[in-house]
Symmetry: C2
Subunit: 195 residues, 2 copies
């Protein structure tokens, strides 16, 4: 397993030696953790990465007098891209984040076909593209390069597994250091392996 | 005024010589034109640029049996970023598109303060960042570099105008060629002046 030497927040560094850090299981979702991380990156002028809004098909809107427009009927649409993108050191960054409760594997059904298509396209144009996968049972969060994902994705239509084993992700991915401000410090992995 | 030599669609090239092309005023909005353009870029494997979904604050959702979830109450949120971003030749692209009916100037009130902040941030990280401004009265669409925008934006708080004159945009921006498939062919400008 790759354990990068992320800079540790001094406040919590003691807890990082040899045991799970105390703040690893505060009931924060992966999405919340990533939002905090992105906000920190932005404040530190390190990168500009945003989550895209949830795509919604708006059917009916009311415009009451003297108050804000109210959407009265709308439906969730399937996303045609990944959830997160932005810029880091001049490079285009693009990723999808998924949490699983499974202890054994990451189900490929968590990703939509057109998200795979999108990831192939941006990779072709030299994006830094990856998945962030959290195994919530272990409170472990992995940086998983999209090239590996494509291989498993394609194999499922050729008699292969419909999920990626936890052990495979441990081997092919990189564990993301958990820190106080940069709670899911994925730029650390990009620094080490991409830039 | 900069008139780049965009490749002309053969079907319409005759009409481009000396007069307004016949398809310049079909009642398409700038957003529709840009969406068609982005789709074309994607199909041609030239670039991957998407419009972000409209940000919506969801308050109440119904989950009826045997049918899709219905959003019953939601509100429009102010966007904290620009509407469009993506990747072109490995570079991060970021822009906002605005249409004005004014014949004289582009009102700065069309852009929100945090969109300006966002554009400053991505520019700092070496994004290719710009506005696409359409003067619908003239059916003219301009590529307007964000550095010029920042100057006018800052001047408005120092006794300057609250809008940018049409003539200024003509001088400081680049007119975007209108084509059949790439209806707002902004990559043409990027090729000439950025890459």
């Amino acid at each position: 397993m790759h354990y990068p030497n992320g800079k540790k927040s001094s406040k919590f560094s003691a807890s990082l030696k040899g045991q799970k850090p105390v703040y690893s299981n505060r009931g924060m979702t992966l999405e919340q953790d990533i939002n905090i991380t992105n906000q920190y990156y932005q404040e530190q002028n390190m990168a500009v990465i945003h989550k895209k809004p949830t795509p919604v098909q708006i059917v009916h809107v009311d415009y009451p007098k003297r108050s804000a427009a109210v959407i009265k009927e709308a439906y969730f649409k399937q996303p045609s891209t990944t959830d997160y993108n932005g810029i880091y050191q001049g490079r285009y960054i693009d990723f999808e984040a998924k949490e699983t409760k499974s202890k054994h594997s990451f189900p490929l059904s968590n990703i939509h076909t057109h998200q795979i298509e999108h990831m192939r396209q941006v990779s072709h144009h030299e994006a830094i593209c990856f998945l962030i996968i959290r195994f919530s049972s272990y409170q472990e969060t992995f940086f998983y390069p999209v090239e590996r994902l494509f291989t498993h994705w394609d194999q499922q239509f050729d008699g292969g597994r419909k999920s990626i084993r936890y052990e495979t992700i441990q081997k092919e991915g990189y564990i993301i250091p958990i820190q106080y401000h940069a709670r899911v410090n994925y730029l650390d992995i990009i620094d080490k392996y991409y830039i």
